[in-house]
Amino acid sequence: MIKSELVQRIADRNPHLYLRDVEKIVNAILDEITKALSRGDRVELRGFGAFSVKRRDARLGRNPRTGAHVPVEEKSVPFFKTGKEMRERLNEGYLD
């Protein structure tokens, strides 16, 4: 599923909303999460999961092709931890 399909599915269930408004709604949600992470904040969505930012220290990396050492600067990476309910739902009836 891609974003336009998500928007379409939500719109199908809300006939009183314009498609473009549903698009705004989905973007508002994703933008809010992005903004929070760019401030270094966490977003915890019970039952689904939590978004946070992890810091990666500077390190000496290597160019895999040449083997040359290259310094990699300290950076932050977005991180998602699956929520408990989601983890359980993924495996209900999955075990053979």
Partner: protein
């Protein structure tokens, strides 16, 4: 509007302006609903319901094993893991870890750049 788990402690000391603390805050559905409320002319109640609807749609799709790709945000991917032998780190006793499905989030380059204070042109699907 941004409610924080850590705000109680510093509410008296910090300036009245919200969101001005250095400490990291935790946002919840409430904050996402507020963002939806500001973006479209819906009631707060309906905004909150829509946030939940979006999250449910994402969850239901993933539970079916389908990947979700959200352009300029990231992808949620389901991986199937085979059974393997694990070890209780405290006791050292070997225990079987059953086969399972896990959800991984792969952030887009746009999101990765934003988290590092950079901006990047939109790309990818």
């Amino acid at each position: 509007m941004v409610k924080s788990a850590s705000s109680e402690a510093e509410i008296s000391a910090s300036s009245p302006k919200e969101n001005s603390t250095v400490e990291s805050q935790t946002l919840t559905r409430v904050n996402l609903a507020e963002a939806v409320y500001r973006s479209v002319g819906l009631s707060r109640k309906e905004s909150a319901a829509l946030v939940q609807m979006v999250l449910s749609e994402l969850s239901d799709t993933l539970v079916k094993g389908e990947t979700v790709k959200l352009s300029s945000f990231g992808s949620f991917i389901i991986r199937s893991k085979a059974e393997r032998i694990g070890r209780n780190p405290k006791t050292g006793i070997e225990v079987p870890i059953t086969q399972r499905r896990v959800l991984v989030f792969k952030p887009s380059n746009v999101l990765k750049a934003r988290v590092n204070g950079q901006t990047v042109a939109e790309e990818e699907e």
